[in-house]
Amino acid sequence: MTSLDEKSDEKSGDKPVGFGRMLRKEDARFLRGRGNYVDDVRLPGMLHGAVLRSPFAHARIVSVDAGAALAHPKVKAVITGETLAGLGLAWMPTLSHDVQAVLATDKVRFQGQEVAFVVAEDRYAARDALELIDVEYEPLPPVIDAKRALDPDAALIRDDIEGKTDNRIFDWEAGNRADTDAVFADARDDGVVVEQDILYPRVHPAPLETCGTVADLDPVTGKLTVWTTTQAPHAHRTVYALVAGLPEHKIRIISPDIGGGFGNKVGIYPGYVCAVVGSIVTGKPVKWMEDRSENLMSTSFARDYHMRGEIAATRDGKIRAVRVRVLADHGAFNGTAQPTKFPAGFFHVFTGSYDLEAAHCEVTGVYTNKAPGGVAYACSFRITEAAYLIERLVDVLAFELDLDPADLRMRNLLRPEQFPYTCPTGWEYDSGDYPRALQLAMDLAGYPELRREQAQRRDSADSTDALMGIGISFFTEAVGAGPRKHMDILGLGMADGAELRVHPTGKAVLRLSCQSQGQGHETTFAQIVAQELGIPPDDIDVVHGDTDQTPFGLGTYGSRSTPVSGAATAVVARKVRDRAKIVASAMLEVSPDDLEWEKGRWFVRGDPDQGATITEIAMAAHSSLELPDGVEGHLDATCVYNPPNLTYPFGAYLCVVDVDPGTGQVKVRRFIAVDDCGVRINPMIVEGQIHGGLADGIGMALMQVIAFDTDGNCLGGSFMDYLLPTSMECPSWELGETVTPSPHHPIGAKGVGESATVGSPAAVVNAVVDALAPYRVRHLDMPLTPANVWSAIQGRPLRTDLAIT
């Protein structure tokens, strides 16, 4: 079980001064309905926008007639692709060095693509006016099945790109092909090689708050203020400056409270740009909020990886190598959001948690007539796909060798003494004790008893009994992007700033570039400062989500807030502590070298009564006290943290399911999760993050999917069709923890926001497949809906990315 001890040794009231369980500071407003989300922003004279979208997946635009809409008494403007083309804004850059249409000018390339934007006095009128716009389309054959995208007769989607003749976006590889091929050849002769086609289907992050924006261009000052749902306010500002040609200092991005992000709110969507243009055109603030269908059909989807994995092993179960070929469906525009040098994100950490001789992957990205996106949804830049691949392959191997999957994993996990460990595709894992985590998960679950129960049930089985399945997954994440020399987004290095100012009375303000979407940054980051300086967390205001008020940084996604901004916070607090030492030395009239720190106070070594608290030092720093030459007054510091490496959280998950063979229904009975994310700043918040990710795993494994029919109609365009797990599908989570600090992070923390989303789907799928062992089912693709499970039992699992026919 999770350790109950408070990590902080000092407390103020019932709150730790530093790390430990602490109730959240931000809750006070949310509990009273006083949160301030984008749609809560109301400005005087504000107008409302609505987007007209394409009903077709692929069609040439013959004409757009907005005359009737413009005649609507409440309509103030109608913006079309032609309007934007006149401003040079019809296309915008994506985060993957492609371009994306803001409003379509030549063709529409996916169902739901933006065609026109209406600005009206109220949101109802804006919606009404959409029906008055007359668009003539000439339908073209759509490319829907990714596996057919490179066929010679496939329609060319991106005829806007000069010289483009097919739908290929990129070919990319990692690892050593020759070494890997050699191991596979060897294993084929004297060992075992298992292959499996594995689809990680298209899903959507679907935060409960959809995406939206309020754009307000002040016609007098020329300042553009944009309240928007963004996980990366500073990146948005820079992109607006680059896209719209507006001077960056005249742009202010405010990301107020965010109703969940999960990667959906990283990119810039056409509606945002249209709202900005709407404000420019009308001279009024313009609000645009997506409806749910718009959110699901047009904004960043995630995954859509068609993988063919192969695993090579000895006959006694020593895993030797992994090889994978991926067809990556990127949709109509390449808008994946990841560091520039990594077109497949960090997928090549598919080497997982095992000691391999060799590994190699090839990834081919293709265009299809579907919404753009791909890297989103708590995926740690495609480590979801990687972890799912390797953990399914290990179970497939266990199936073929008839080995216990826990035993097979235990035999192959990296051992603690191998860290730091460089995997065959080049990642340097910082620290870990994998066997300990797996053993703890098995102990918490009562693994041998579960296997006994399963054996008994199978022996006494009546064909109508529920089938019991036990699934394990062990994941290694690579989070906290990242070192500037390797990692940038649109040329912006992935370092984060932090600014800390201690006021004269000892209270403090911390300014950060990252952006909470529910992760509790206002509490956690205050606790980091508290740990370093001894100032109670309630006395520290954490400012974020406003580019005019915070230092530059890349934002919150990829579990990077604690690894990067958290490190920046610790470093900037230590800088303040060093400055405080000099001030204290002046106050106490001793050399700084004679001072020692205890939490919240510098004192004279050997004379503990002689000292000054941080509060006293803060006042002195602002006073007339004479300071040594070269030491400025006040008590503040700034820093930019450039991470030396990623951090590598890991965990062992175990899921128990019961499957009804007569209906295919899956019931998750238990879920045990042991996470190691290094040092935990606020264990309560960490556990909450894990809970949420585990629910994602249930959702993706069992119900979430964005499929398409052959015409390119999106079949997951509402919450009636795109199912999210409810309280009824989620069990009461059973958590455990181990702590292996990161050796290179200032406070040893690793980041945990996405771990459970990355690690849990494989545990659920492995459990269901384990339950189906009596039917010799080796694999079926997510989501494991009742229909899919039943069909797999009949020997014909469904293809889940396409319409069921």
Binding site: Y124, M289, L715, T726, P786, A787, Q794, I804
Partner: protein, 291 residues
């Protein structure tokens, strides 16, 4: 957010008032009760009524009572009210089974029995329940009241025999002594529309099926009923083998359509499997082996 197109709005507080408003408004008007089917359709602009007649104040239709050997359910009874009713629990566990899995508790606070059957969604649970129970709908219009068997109430997807100037006012369910009932549903997730569902009511006489009603949801059964399966089972001993045969007949005669909830073969299988399970549970209840 999706918003409805313009319409006019009237509120009725009695059935007579509602009928008068309907007559005056003509065929462009729609009655709204809970609104949980109609308002989403209006937001998508798949439904664009010119006028809505709100009958939420028509409290005279909020009754559940036993009268003349029938359970009588007013059309304005909310799902939650049906689920909580001691009378319903006593006489028709099938309704409790169904109501527990219709949408979710908050929707059930608002949605009504009459609204559900009048929406006539092929995936709507209560239609199959009332069909299995051989219930009667009471419809009132300008010309007075008429009754229609719930096995003839639906004329197609989203279509019923209720004319634009009429109102469904109550459902009458015959109470058969010695009968027991059950409803079984497969859904992809709590609150989802059914992949398939089956309801069964059984009257046993000395171990023999004296009468049986089988309703099917979401599998293309005409009028939500598995008549052929009923005929196949009636008069036979209530055995597992006979239930299985009834299931096979039910599966054979339904016409499911493939959608994201499943392919045709799976839904057909479920029609049979769930028929068997509903019969099995009803029989267990009849013999006191299950509550």
């Amino acid at each position: 957010m999706q918003v409805p197109a313009h319409f006019d709005y009237d509120r009725a507080s009695t059935v007579e008032e509602a009928l008068a408003l309907l007559s005056r408004a003509g065929p462009g008007a729609r009655v709204v009760a809970g609104g949980h089917s109609l308002i989403p359709m209006m937001k998508l602009r798949l439904a664009q009524p010119e006028r809505l007649i709100d009958i939420n104040d028509v409290t005279e239709l909020s009754f559940i009572r036993v009268d003349g050997g029938e359970l009588r359910i007013g059309a304005m009874v909310r799902h939650a009210q049906l689920l909580d009713s001691a009378l319903v629990r006593e006489h028709f566990p099938i309704m409790v089974d169904a109501e527990r899995v219709i949408a979710d508790p908050v929707v059930r606070n608002r949605g009504t029995v009459g609204g559900s059957v009048c929406q006539a969604d092929p995936s709507e649970d209560l239609s199959a329940v009332f069909a299995a129970l051989r219930a009667t709908g009471v419809i009132r219009g300008p010309g007075g009241e008429r009754t229609v068997s719930m096995r003839e109430f639906h004329t197609g997807p989203y279509e019923t025999v209720v004319a634009p100037d009429e109102l469904l006012v109550q459902l009458r369910v015959p109470i058969m002594s010695g009968s027991a009932s059950a409803y079984v549903k497969v859904e992809r997730r709590a609150g989802d529309w059914p992949v398939a569902a089956a309801g069964a009511v059984l009257r046993l006489r000395g171990g023999t099926v004296a009468e049986v009603g089988i309703g099917l949801t979401a599998v293309g059964a005409e009028h939500f009923v598995a008549t052929e399966a009923e005929d196949a089972l009636r008069g036979l001993p209530a055995t597992e083998a006979n239930f299985a045969e009834a299931g096979r007949v039910a599966a054979r005669h339904c016409r499911p359509a493939a959608d994201q909830r499943g392919p045709v073969d799976y839904k057909r299988h479920l029609a049979g499997e769930l028929t068997v399970r509903a019969l099995r549970r009803a029989a267990a209840r009849a013999t006191g082996q299950e509550a």
